[in-house]
C-alpha cells in the first residue's frame, strides 16, 4: 500500500516537500513506517528520532496499524505559544 505522511516545520524544510508518499506492506505499523521513512530520507533521521506521529489527527502509538486511508503526520517537538 501507499501511505502519505504530512510534514511540518523543520521536517518539511529538510525534506523539501510537505508530504511524503511511502510504499509499505499492507497492515504495517507506525513503528515500521518510521523505519522506512528514516531509511529512505536519511536527512530526516534526527527530526524523526525526536518526533511523535499522528494518525487521523490524534497522537498514535508505535503499534497502531496503518491503511491506505490513514491520515498520517510526523509531529516534530512542538513550539506553539
Amino acid at each position: 500500500m501507499r501511505v502519505r505522511v504530512k510534514l511540518f516545520a523543520a521536517a518539511k524544510e529538510l525534506a523539501g516537500c510537505d508530504e511524503l508518499a511511502v510504499e509499505m506492506p499492507s497492515g504495517a505499523t507506525v513503528a515500521e513506517l518510521r523505519e522506512t521513512v528514516v531509511a529512505q530520507y536519511p536527512q530526516l533521521n534526527t527530526v524523526v528520532s525526536h518526533a511523535l506521529w499522528a494518525v487521523d489527527a490524534e497522537y498514535a502509538n508505535d503499534n497502531m496499524l496503518l491503511n491506505e486511508l490513514s491520515n498520517i503526520a510526523l509531529i516534530p517537538p512542538v513550539s506553539g505559544g
Partner: protein, 150 residues
C-alpha cells in the same frame, strides 16, 4: 471557544467575551514575541500549525479545563503566520467565580498548549538566519539565508 487566525488578536474583544454575570475574576494570558532573547534580536516569529489536529487538540483542552475548574467563559486564540515583536502569538482568556480558579485554569491551558498542540514557530533572527524551534532537538532545522549554507 478556540480559534487559529492569521490576523492580530483583538485582546479587548477577548476580554469582553470573557465577562460573565457570575464571574468574579477574568485572567488573560498573552504570549508575546520577545524582540531580545539572551541578547539576540528577533525580527519576527513565523507560526505554522497542523491545523486540523491543532484545532481538535485546543478544543479538547477547553473541554478538559471546564471539567477541572468552574470555567464560565474560555477563549483560546493562536496566531499563524508572521508575528512581530511585542505582538501576541497566543491569547487565553478565562473567567471563573473566584480568582484562584481563573489563574489555575489559565496557567494549565497555556502549559498544556505548549506541550502538545501541533504548532511550531520559526525564529527570524536579525542576522538573517532562520531557525525552527523544536525543544529538545539539535539545530539541524536551522538554515542560513545570508552567508551561505551552514
Amino acid at each position: 471557544m478556540i480559534r487559529l487566525t492569521n490576523d492580530p488578536i483583538d485582546t479587548a474583544a477577548l476580554i469582553d467575551a470573557a465577562r460573565h454575570p457570575e464571574a468574579g475574576a477574568v485572567v488573560l494570558f498573552l504570549g508575546t514575541t520577545r524582540e531580545l532573547t539572551d541578547g539576540r534580536q528577533t525580527v519576527a516569529l513565523d507560526y505554522e500549525a497542523y491545523r486540523e489536529m491543532a484545532e481538535r487538540q485546543l478544543a479538547d483542552l477547553e473541554t478538559e479545563a471546564r471539567r477541572r475548574w468552574p470555567v464560565l467563559e474560555c477563549r483560546i486564540v493562536h496566531r499563524l503566520g508572521r508575528v512581530a515583536p511585542t505582538e501576541a502569538s497566543v491569547a487565553i482568556a478565562v473567567s471563573t467565580p473566584h480568582r484562584a480558579d481563573a489563574f489555575a485554569a489559565g496557567q494549565w491551558l497555556i502549559d498544556s498548549l505548549k506541550q502538545g498542540v501541533p504548532i511550531w514557530k520559526r525564529e527570524q533572527w536579525a542576522d538573517g538566519t532562520t531557525e525552527w524551534v523544536h525543544p529538545g532537538m539539535d539545530k539541524e532545522g536551522e538554515t542560513r539565508r545570508g552567508g551561505g549554507g551552514g
